[in-house]
């Protein structure tokens, strides 16, 4: 297992370097000059432009800028935002808990609903339930998140008024952030109603963010289950007279889970991409919204720093999934 871990870690290094090159160079390929944008319609004199570019170190050759940046990153210095002038690492970790909280809730919904839905669909293959469920999954998979989010806001917040429109907690509640996770902080605060408020604020964005992963997980579970259910050992288990629950729940499901776990791992990346839109619609103060704002402002250090940190996190999650995979399926370790 240790060798396996080392091999996986060794692959991470070139991947990380690749991502850093892409993050660094692609933003610079986009047209648009962050220094000129600082002054908007007001014209900046060429001398002033040169002065600020020099101050930001942007007048040096790209390669030197890259290695300088990489050097910073390796020592934990991701630079400061051109706009807010705050260190990127501080901003990232101030906003990251909000994204994690949202993503975990969405993943929870996607797994808790997606796996049973896929299992049932597989067991009742061809039934109306199966076809209906897969039809819904297809719709969920193709849903434009932006439109879906607004639709839910208009229906559940605007017309029915069951849920708040946006934000993380009612403005009535004010307490210091201890962990950055609103569900935990609201409990720690001891303020009456705070936790309920946090849950109700989390509901709609989680549902929106869960939609695509839910559809993917349900479809993947269904096809994996179908494959496993036709295996000889399942027939043997049935022939032994085991209850259908044991056959499916113990013998089939565990084997069907291997591709499903891979899918879930891959969905983490999809989810962070989805979080960008979801956070923008629901004014959710996470890294997705922060990155979108930064792209519009051509805030290079934030975009490249944010991308690297997100990529680093996705790689770590994938590593954990790989290790988990090894635990479930001992053959992989070798």
């Amino acid at each position: 297992m240790f060798g396996f871990l080392l091999r996986r870690l060794a692959v991470l290094i070139p991947t990380f370097l690749g991502v850093s090159i892409i993050a660094f160079s692609f933003i610079r390929l986009l047209p648009g000059d962050p220094v000129a944008l600082l002054s908007g319609e007001r014209v900046m004199s060429p001398e002033r432009h040169a002065q600020i570019s020099a101050q930001l170190g942007m007048d040096r050759p790209m390669v030197i800028q890259y290695f300088d940046y990489l050097g910073g990153v390796l020592t934990g210095d991701f630079g400061s935002s051109i706009v807010s002038k705050k260190p990127i690492i501080d901003q990232f970790f101030a906003l990251f808990p909000a994204t994690v909280e949202l993503s975990l809730c969405a993943m929870f919904i996607a797994i808790v609903l997606g796996i049973p839905a896929g299992v049932i669909a597989a067991m009742k293959r061809g039934s109306i339930f199966d076809q209906g469920l897969m039809g819904i999954a297809l719709v969920g998979y193709s849903m434009p998140i932006f439109w879906w989010g607004l639709l839910l806001i208009i229906l559940f917040s605007g017309i029915l008024q069951w849920f708040p429109v946006s934000g993380r907690i009612s403005l009535m509640f004010y307490f210091p952030q201890v962990t950055g996770f609103m569900l935990i902080d609201s409990l720690i605060s001891g303020q009456k109603g705070a936790f309920a408020s946090a849950v109700s604020h989390l509901a709609l964005p989680s549902i929106v963010l869960a939609t695509i992963p839910l559809a993917v997980i349900a479809r993947q579970t269904r096809s994996a289950m179908l494959e496993v259910l036709s295996e000889d050992y399942v027939r043997t288990a049935r022939a032994k007279g085991l209850s259908p629950f044991r056959v499916v729940g113990v013998h089939a499901l565990r084997n069907a889970m291997i591709p499903v776990i891979t899918t879930i791992g891959l969905q983490i990346g999809v989810m962070l991409a989805g979080a960008i839109l979801t956070e923008t619609i629901f004014s959710w103060p996470g890294i997705g919204k922060w990155m979108v704002d930064s792209v519009f402002r051509r805030d290079y250090p934030v975009i490249q720093g944010g991308l690297l940190l997100i990529a680093g996190i996705i790689m770590t999650v994938n590593l954990i999934v790989d290790l988990l995979y090894g635990l479930i399926n001992p053959r992989i370790r070798h």
């Binding site: 986009l30 047209p31 648009g32 000059d33 962050p34 000129a36 944008l37 600082l38 002054s39 908007g40 319609e41 007001r42 014209v43 004199s45 002033r48 600020i52 101050q55 930001l56 400061s80 051109i82 706009v83 807010s84 002038k85 705050k86 901003q91 906003l95 909000a98 607004l150 806001i153 208009i154 917040s157 605007g158 008024q161 069951w162 849920f163 708040p164 429109v165 946006s166 934000g167 993380r168 403005l171 009535m172 509640f173 004010y174 952030q177 303020q191 009456k192 109603g193 309920a196 408020s197 849950v199 109700s200 923008t280 619609i281 004014s283 103060p285 919204k289 922060w290 704002d293 051509r298």
Partner: protein, 532 residues
């Protein structure tokens, strides 16, 4: 499931109700974006000023609410020397800085604070000139402060003397602008001592109506009433900015009672807002202009009659209807009607395709092909430049002028449109900084701005003399006359087709009182109240 949800919602509502009954009067503003920081000198965006300069700070002069007229602020009175270069300000006595969790002031406002706040922006050797990495004083730079101000000196505790290198009539209006906010020198000193200078931009202390409490990045900014405020005390106890970047979501929040007031609605939502009995909508012409700048150095656009002929072929009403759904007014003059010295007498070129065709023929122009540059971004003064360009293209075709529409990425567009050899007429616009006509007429059309902000590359001696004279004249009546004449010259020469002034629309809950719309587009809440 439905039942559970309803129960949960009911429990939540009751919890909210009880929490609300005990709490103070809180006003919630659904702001459109996050502030970049809290030291207004470092930034240029209105969103940042609404969150920093207006609630937290004051300036030597303040714009009288609802106008662009500067009036006494932290300076009680001022004298201007005969030659217009020395300004002596008498500061208000007994103005207290806010007491916050992170700072307790030991003294009242004095001349040191003014010298500190302005000095750091004009002197690159000031100890606070580069207190934050990458920070620049972009607005002071843009308004020419480093070159304009020779010195800022303390005369005594309550007297400050500012010496200029040349007379500049808009100077008082400039001092009322957000970037000229007055910060506490005592607070800055304490931060310097603690080695945490950058906190000046994160934990602000000022003399304004609201005290900063906390900012949760990209989500919420909290303020409380400044109990020691020198002006009229705010009527609300707490002010909250709920940052909501999507306009449709802001509207939903306003409808659901999650906020009391919102800026920048979608044009398409305004009708339904007006018909909602729980809301009211205020509107006012913004301090802005969108224009089509011809390149007046290139034939045949160097002839005023050609430019006027083209102006006559632009259907501004159609543009306003198509692009703004009526939320703008066609523009006649290069300055908006809310600005002092707006000339009511000038007549716009009427939309008349036959007359336009004839004028072009008379000028000897045949088979004209031209480019129209359309901005790639939506700005308050022009929501969709390509659509506007298409409408022009259509009309120009009817008078025999072939139009090709071109566009570039925004920063590129701004850069290339400055070029003296630019091929084509460019759509662009401007939002006023300080309500002074100089900020439009000289900044955008003066001879010095050719190759820069003067996108028409238009240098007309008669016009330039008028605006330059107005710039150094202190008497406002005299300045008004000069600017009125300048507008007549502008119309006669037509370096631009003036397109529109957009309307600033502010929807709010019915119970909101005391909100005054600022022609400068500021959102200030010191006078607002909420009906119980």
């Amino acid at each position: 499931m439905k039942r559970t949800l309803t129960l949960a919602a009911a429990a939540l509502l009751s919890a909210t109700f009880f929490a609300g009954a005990a709490s103070a009067k809180t006003f919630v503003y659904c702001s459109e974006g996050s502030p970049e920081g809290f030291d207004p000198g470092l930034y240029t965006a209105g969103t940042t000023f609404d969150a920093s300069a207006h609630p937290i700070y004051n300036r030597l002069l303040e714009f009288k609410p609802g106008t662009t007229q500067p009036e006494a602020g932290l300076a009680e009175s001022w004298d201007i020397s005969e030659d217009g270069t020395v300004y002596t300000f008498k500061l208000r006595k007994g103005v207290k800085f806010q007491t916050t969790e992170f700072f307790t002031p030991s003294r009242e406002l004095n001349a040191d604070d003014v010298v500190f706040s302005i000095g750091r922006q004009i002197d690159p050797n000031n100890a606070w000139a580069k207190y934050i990495s990458g920070g620049t004083w972009e607005y002071a730079e843009g308004m020419g402060f480093p070159k304009l101000i020779k010195s800022v000196e303390k005369v005594d505790d309550l007297t400050v003397k500012m010496t200029l290198n040349r007379p500049e009539a808009p100077f008082l209006a400039n001092l009322a602008m957000p970037f000229a906010s007055i910060l506490s020198k005592e607070y800055a000193d304490s931060l310097e001592k603690a080695g945490t200078k950058e906190q000046l931009n994160q934990n602000p202390v000022g003399t304004g109506p609201f005290t900063f409490v906390a900012y949760q990045q990209d989500a919420i900014i909290r303020y409380k009433k400044n109990a020691d405020y020198w002006g009229t005390a705010p009527k609300i106890d707490d002010l909250v900015f709920a940052i909501t970047s999507d306009a449709s979501v802001r509207y939903q929040k306003l409808k659901a009672g999650e906020c009391h007031l919102m800026p920048f609605p979608n044009a398409a939502d305004v009708e339904s807002m007006k018909s909602d009995s729980n809301l009211k909508v205020m509107e006012q012409e913004g301090l802005n202009i969108a224009y089509l700048a011809y390149n007046t150095t290139q034939a045949p656009f160097d002839k005023p009659e050609v430019r006027i002929a083209l102006n006559k072929a632009i259907n501004k009403k159609a543009i306003v209807d198509a692009v703004f759904q009526g939320m703008a007014t066609p523009a006649t003059n290069p300055i908006p009607p809310t600005m002092w010295s707006y000339n009511q007498e000038t007549k716009d070129d009427t939309y008349d395709l036959d007359a336009a065709k004839k004028m072009l023929a008379d000028a000897g122009v045949k088979d004209l092909s031209m480019k129209i540059w359309a901005m790639p971004v939506s700005r308050p003064y022009m929501l969709n430049a390509r659509r506007a360009a298409e409408i022009m293209q259509d009309d120009f075709a009817k008078i025999g002028v072939k139009v090709e529409i071109v566009s570039y990425e925004w920063a590129e567009y701004l850069q290339r449109s400055k070029d003296k050899n630019r091929d084509g007429a460019a759509i662009l616009g401007w939002t006023g900084d300080n309500g002074d006509p100089d900020n439009f007429l000289d900044t955008l059309l003066g001879c010095d701005a050719v190759g820069g902000n003067n996108r028409a590359q238009w240098c007309n001696k008669e016009f330039d003399d008028l605006v330059k004279k107005a710039k150094v004249t202190s008497d406002q009546e005299e300045r008004t006359k000069l600017y009125e004449q300048a507008q007549v010259v502008f119309k006669k020469e037509a370096p631009w087709a003036t397109i529109d002034h957009s309307l600033a629309i502010v929807p709010m809950a019915k119970g909101v009182t005391g909100f005054t719309q600022s022609p400068l587009g500021d959102f200030t809440f010191e006078a607002v109240d909420i009906a119980e």
